[in-house]
Subunit: 351 residues, 2 copies
Amino acid sequence: MSAIAAALGVSAATVSNALSGKGRVSPELIEKVRSKASELGYVPSLTARALRTGRTGVLGLVLPDIANPLFPQIAQAIENAASNAGYGVLIADSRGDIAAQTEAIGRLLERGVDGMVIVPRRGTRIADVGCPVAVIDTPSTPGNTVAADHWEGGAQMGRHLAALGHAKVLLIGTSVSSNVQNDRIGGLKAGLGARVECDTMWIERVEAVSGEGCPLGLAEKAAAGFTAFAAVSDLSALRALTELQRAGIGVPEMVSVTGFDDLIWSAVVTPALTTVRMDMAVIADLAIAALIRVIESEGEEEEAAGKVTSEIDRVPMQLIVRQSTGAPHADGVPNLHARTPNKPTAGELKP
Amino acid sequence: MSAIAAALGVSAATVSNALSGKGRVSPELIEKVRSKASELGYVPSLTARALRTGRTGVLGLVLPDIANPLFPQIAQAIENAASNAGYGVLIADSRGDIAAQTEAIGRLLERGVDGMVIVPRRGTRIADVGCPVAVIDTPSTPGNTVAADHWEGGAQMGRHLAALGHAKVLLIGTSVSSNVQNDRIGGLKAGLGARVECDTMWIERVEAVSGEGCPLGLAEKAAAGFTAFAAVSDLSALRALTELQRAGIGVPEMVSVTGFDDLIWSAVVTPALTTVRMDMAVIADLAIAALIRVIESEGEEEEAAGKVTSEIDRVPMQLIVRQSTGAPHADGVPNLHARTPNKPTAGELKP
DNA sequence: CTGAAAGCGCTTACAG
DNA sequence: CTGAAAGCGCTTACAG
């Protein structure tokens, strides 16, 4: 910047004003400054700007566990939304540990992030952090900013299964203390309605699985009359699907299997998995927009260091019907290969 | 800092020296400064330090596509290695696009990162970036820093399959131009040896799959005598596995299926997938260490703005034998459920 | 062992 | 419309 000023015989202040386009400089000078800047390959120092303005233009992204298969969707959406808004994204991993989460938040704060979006570890409540925060969780978590409407997503899935005629369905979850899973299960039950019988099976978390098989005993469940297996995540659904297939139980001829989240493999397995997807792009945009609103109004009347919004945005989820669901077989007898493949219906996404 | 100086009646310089522990201050004063600092909840401004020292303490992580299922492992390992070394990590997503990759690198540079680790988009060569760079790709990519030894990983898998007695195996890849995939395939062929017949099938990339099934025709391949399907990624392996199961072909009784990368679901499906895993922690540590070595020796003799190392580190991959592989059935006739489950062998990982 | 001074590269009132 | 000055919070020679 001083190089530009020197080359042009003007002051650094003028260069700054010209480049920031705040209209305090004559059009001709602005033009001269601009061309000289690009001629010199000038790149402003965001560090110096940060020191002066007190804003770094960087946001923190705190994740409960980067290894979670849902993380790519979240990270990509947040990175994209932030960079569209001119912000950088610093990542921090809680590694599933609550102390690590606190520490990660601290490190981000030291680095002077202007705000952060936190996907909290289950059961954590985010207290005052000392900077604007947007929390992404479930609508049922207090102090939240934006979330997919997991309950309604479950309800859509429940209605889908009920409409196909399933009368006995097994719900599969992995964490009794997860708000997200409980919302999904609540929605599923509501969507299925009071007339369909359902049972919930809590299985070991996948991370803990040893790779030795650990059968869930789903074939027995099928024999006991369950015709649909609704998992609360695609990973569990995949586990169910392969276990059933392995046991010679046709999906969807004999039983239906459904998941949640539309993870990368759901569309790729045979039969492709019926699932429910959240619109991460929308969630990320809302979270980032809320954050930026607070950041850029800092210093005004409101106490900005606390929550970002009081009203939580509920983003609808979208049912994606694929081949893993169908009508239950009339009398529970296997009838492999006799079925016409499902045509994808309305909710279908083109990825 | 000035608050501490004022409270103690010393200069800011002394506070700085005391806190940085460079031994220019008397022990008693250091102690007084320290306790006053923590009493006041002093947090140093990394921004100011960055402006003064010219180093931000931030590294950039450039990924070809955050949505890639392998990304969580990479990001987690890099974040961990960097934060252990006291660095923050700014993420940048190329979204599979080469122009976006250049742009992302530019944004990182503007933000003053001290260096970056780049996982390049296939076929990209990273030119001079203007800051220290560590590239993670394959040993066969020139200008590389550290990589898993994909070729050797393929060879291990090939030997495993050959030892089981497979004589006709189908290799499955998704991208002819990928160095990683070509290395893996080269290794597989070498490991299988000249006596086993093998064919390579290039399938559509998963991202492009519509979810409507898109059968690969693997049942026909099995009928044609292929007894093993070695995919170059777990995602393709999963696709193969479910398609075969769906067609009533028992894995591993009739055919074996193998993947690559030990993605999250590999241990969870039935039968669990035999795969090869790279040690991301080691790769990340090497990449970060190489980067930091250059960063912290900046200004000394060597031209640090270019490559990080000339010698590339090859990190071995680890074969993980699970239930999806077994000896080929003697006469190609289905014999479901007649097989004793594989006991996991040596290479087994406890996650 | 300790302090006064300069400066990293910007932006922002404030004068002219 | 343009410029001189101050200052964001540090660190680093350089004196004392």
